[in-house]
């Protein structure tokens, strides 16, 4: 069992490290590509500003056109990996490793995915969290399912019962040793791995070790309680298999179903449709204003050509199909997306919060889910950190968009200096405290499960009939 635990965990560690490394590389490549694009545009914009090259005809080719640049170049908002990211993939495989944020609506970048085989997302990754959360209990159960029943079947239980030490003490001691084998193996492998991969995360891994120990004790106590019912070894194995599958799969599936029924996930396309509708409204409004303007000027005999020089961005008199008109429409469309899309986004986040709150409460019914959450939070791949990152990307998007909109509204063209002052994304660890609370709450909950099962085992063993049923 020592070998099995060590080998599965080592394989999982290799898999976890491979996954985090490939994400890291991918994030770096996205960042580099975006930076190169900005640098290339910057050089051209500076040359235009210095009069070395002409302004391109098309607004989308013009590196000085503020609103087009704002919506075509981007600043990459990457979520830095935590020191123990390899421990739990958590939700990270569902999100791209880095998000290129532009001045377009949030729908243009928030829902993009990294390429991956969805079948692999469905099965999940063989990461250390899978071994610790799902397989470790099985290793423990394999060693403990017959801790008492085997003694009875072999006829040695009566001898133990005849000793002056209470039966439950003897059995608890035996059980502790059996639980310690896989748990200690896992902890030692983890400590060694962290010392090799990232020694600075030693404190975090101690927290993992504490969580794994409590979790192991819980499963040991469950095994003792099941043994306490006095079934034969086969019956114990059967009950424990059912207990494991219920805790690891049936309860989570039930929780998912309840949450989905009570608080369905928001309809993400709603935001896109609102923004598209907004864009059409902008065009319609502009066309009406323009048609009215043309009608009025036809009466007075003016034509477009005579007075385009005095037009402003919001002036309906601008030439149809001109750079000025296209720029104006792009700006208005982005502003509309800001008004319409953002409110929907906030509303959807509120729905998600409600959903997560319910899920968070229901999850407490399954030590497996609690343990999973603990590991994800320690690894920095849990929902809290993603939510914090998502909020920071949202705030950054606002500042990026404001930067370009305010300049575009004032008709300011971009030069090299303006490029240098583009907002930069910095991720701040804002949820550490909340995350720590979740981790400790999780450990306490598993501890309570342990105490509950221990009390049950104690009660059952005190009434245990050594002669069997």
């Amino acid at each position: 069992m020592i070998l099995l635990t060590a080998l599965t965990l080592i394989y999982a560690l290799i898999s976890g490290v491979g996954f985090t490394q490939s994400r890291q590389k991918s994030a770096e490549a996205v960042t580099k590509s975006a930076q190169e694009k900005v640098a290339s545009q910057r050089d051209k914009a500076q040359q235009i500003a210095e009069g070395k090259i002409p302004v391109p005809d098309k607004p989308y080719q013009d590196p000085g056109n503020t609103i087009y640049v704002g919506s075509s170049v981007s600043e990459v908002a990457a979520l830095p990996q935590g020191p123990l990211a390899f421990l739990s993939v958590g939700e990270s495989d569902l999100f791209p490793p880095a998000i290129p944020v532009s001045a377009r609506g949030k729908e243009s970048f928030l829902f993009n995915d990294e390429i991956s085989n969805p079948s692999h997302l469905l099965t999940g990754i063989f990461d250390p969290a899978f071994v610790l959360v799902v397989l470790l209990p099985l290793f423990i159960l394999a060693l403990t399912y017959n801790v008492i029943s085997a003694e009875r079947e072999q006829g040695t239980l009566s001898l133990n019962a005849a000793s002056p030490v209470p039966l439950r003490v003897i059995m608890s001691a035996k059980l502790l040793v059996r639980v310690a084998v896989p748990v200690l193996t896992a902890v030692i492998v983890l400590l060694a791995a962290v010392l090799c991969i990232n020694p600075s995360a030693f404190n975090e891994v101690l927290l993992v070790a504490a969580a794994v120990t409590v979790y192991g004790l819980f499963w040991g106590a469950a095994a003792l309680a099941v043994n306490g019912f006095g079934l034969d070894s086969t019956g114990n194995a059967l009950v424990m298999s059912v207990l494991w599958i219920c805790t690891a799969f049936v309860i989570p599936a039930g929780i998912d179903a309840v949450v989905e029924i009570v608080h369905p996930a928001p309809i993400r396309s709603e935001m896109v449709l609102a923004v598209r509708n907004g864009a059409v409204q902008v065009e319609t409004k502009h066309s009406s204003a323009q048609a009215q303007y043309e009608l009025d000027h036809a009466k007075t005999g003016h034509t477009h050509g005579e007075d385009t020089a005095v037009h402003t961005h919001s002036d309906p008199a601008m030439e149809r199909g001109s750079v000025q008109e296209k720029t104006y429409l792009r700006l208005q469309s982005i502003k509309a997306s800001q008004v319409l899309g953002d409110s929907i986004y906030q509303n959807q986040n509120r729905l998600l919060d409600e959903r997560n709150r319910l899920a968070s409460i229901l999850k407490l019914s399954s030590p497996v889910l609690v343990m999973q959450e603990i590991l994800s939070e320690i690894a920095g791949t849990g929902s809290l950190r993603y939510r914090s990152y998502s909020d920071q990307v949202d705030q950054f998007h606002d500042s990026w968009r404001t930067f370009f909109i305010t300049r575009a509204e004032r008709g300011i063209r971009l030069d090299g200096a303006a490029y240098d002052s583009f907002p930069k994304f910095h991720y701040y660890e804002r949820c550490s405290e909340e995350s720590a609370k979740h981790i400790w709450r999780g450990i306490i909950v598993i501890g309570l499960f342990f105490l509950g099962f221990s009390a049950l085992a104690k009660g059952l063993l005190s009434r245990f009939r050594v002669a069997g049923r």
Partner: protein, 479 residues
């Protein structure tokens, strides 16, 4: 007493034993409750999801049609959205539906990837397991079989009744046949709620435009067939292990360990092993490859040799000297040409990407003859229409629709816009010609053809398990 009567007696006794045991009654009860919950939850999910998708599609069509007069190419850039409906058989197996995008933006020049995958908002509980028929049939039913049948022979051996039966002239083969029939009947009874539930769901969605009822029925028949093979294999293996094991405990431990490995560990390990066979590109690599190829193959001005050659060919065709003399609009022609060049690139690169994904899936499922969950997962989602290949079919259909929009938009420019007229605007009647996307699913025959190798793999599992069972029965010993 003839053989048939002996087998019948054994089967009836076995069933009576199981129904008498409270542990097994609980097992039946829990299985049935889980199945019913999975059907109810699945039906509610599909109904809600499809209603949302239909509403979104209707709204997008309204937005599209509400565009006023504008340049058709600008409208093509604005594009439409294609919303993916879920097949009613997602009830049987949602497969990767939660991990695929649910909508695709069809815009000019660009085949966009799908977006809005529901899994992102589902949270961690749903990643462990979702309450679906596939979960019940793929994961729970093998456990039910194990718990029912692990002691089929060991119990007789432990009680000493195996020796009695053999001494009475009952052959091990009769014993095997009788017990198998009993288990098959019990499993059949357990399957009734699943079949009835699926039938009711198909009836609810019988008018679906995207998923014809006849095709759904044919897919259901396939699903019944593959699950029968899968579960029969489990039954045969369970009986084989029971026949070979000395004690019930040993049989249970071996079978449970195999079940856990096959159902939970192996799929993850195999996903991990095949992820580089072949390696998938990152989004950045994929998009860069497209952009570079497009840049190489065509341009938007005479600076690009391909554009210049195209313009020359047009001038020659119309026997004129300059673009201004053309009876058609050169910009419209070049946009159409640019799109056509793009189509080849997208077909190649998207085709390659989905072929690579398909290959990974096939490699992953190829060990299904010894790890059955790998084969059943693939086949089940394929026939339910919720696998990667099914999604690729959706992506391909959407792309056809996008191309229709692009062609109509470019042709309007070609034949109606005058040279140098930057203000040309098509009337809203043109938008009405570009109908919203309606999905028509792939036929069951094409699915069966694609999945043929994996069907053989699953058949291999059932055959291997049967051979193992027969060999074990032949060598069964009373002690």
């Amino acid at each position: 007493m003839n053989r048939a009567a002996v087998i019948q007696r054994i089967a009836l006794k076995e069933m009576a034993d199981h129904f008498r045991e409270s542990r097994h009654r609980w097992l039946f009860g829990i299985s049935i409750v889980l199945t019913i919950c999975a059907i109810m939850f699945g039906t509610v999910q599909i109904k809600r999801f499809n209603a949302e998708q239909t509403a979104s599609s209707t709204m997008d069509a309204q937005i599209w049609n509400s565009q006023g007069a504008k340049n058709p190419h600008a409208a093509a850039h604005f594009g439409q959205y294609a919303f993916k409906p879920w097949s009613p058989l997602t009830l049987a197996d949602p497969g990767v539906a939660l991990y695929e995008g649910t909508a695709i933006w069809m815009e000019a020049h660009k085949q966009n990837p799908d977006s809005f995958s529901p899994a992102r908002d589902r949270g961690t509980a749903g990643r462990n397991a979702t309450l679906t028929l596939a979960f019940v049939l793929q994961k729970m039913m093998p456990l039910v079989i194990i718990l029912l049948a692990f002691s089929a022979f060991t119990k007789e051996r432990e009680r000493g009744t195996l020796r009695q039966l053999l001494s009475l002239g009952v052959s091990p083969a009769d014993l095997f046949a009788g017990k198998s029939i009993a288990f098959i009947v019990m499993l059949g009874l357990l399957m009734i709620p699943a079949l009835v539930g699926t039938g009711v769901t198909l009836w609810i969605f019988k008018d679906s435009v995207s998923f014809p009822l006849a095709d759904l029925v044919a897919r259901t028949v396939w699903l019944v067939g593959i699950y029968a093979l899968y579960l029969f294999g489990w039954l045969a293996v369970t009986i084989a292990v029971s026949a070979r094991s000395k004690t019930s405990g040993t049989a249970l431990v071996i079978l449970t360990a195999f079940w856990i490995f096959s159902s939970f560990a192996a799929p993850r390990i195999m996903s991990d092993l095949v992820k580089d066979r072949p390696n998938l590109p990152t989004s950045l690599e994929f998009n860069t490859a497209i952009a570079e190829q497009k840049k190489k193959d065509f341009g938007h001005s005479t600076d690009h040799p391909a554009y210049a050659a195209f313009q020359d060919s047009i001038l020659k065709f119309y026997k004129v000297d300059s673009v201004s003399q053309l009876p058609v609009n050169m910009r419209g022609l070049s946009l159409r040409r640019s799109d056509e060049v793009g189509y080849t690139i997208y077909d190649t690169l998207f085709g390659q990407l989905y072929d690579d994904i398909y290959q990974q899936d096939m490699v992953r499922a190829s060990l299904g003859f010894i790890i059955p969950s790998l084969a059943i997962e693939q086949l089940s989602m394929s026939f339910a229409g919720s696998d990667n290949r099914g999604h690729f079919h959706f992506v391909t259909e959407v792309e056809k629709h996008r191309r229709m929009i692009q062609t109509l938009a470019s042709e309007d420019l070609i034949f109606n816009a005058k040279f140098g007229d930057e203000t040309y605007a098509a009337s809203p009647e043109l938008w009405a010609k570009m109908k919203p996307f309606v999905y028509h699913s792939a036929s069951v025959d094409s699915v069966a053809q694609q999945q043929f190798p994996i069907l053989l793999v699953l058949l291999g599992w059932a055959v291997l398990a049967t051979v193992l069972a027969i060999r074990s029965i032949k060598s069964v010993k009373p002690l």
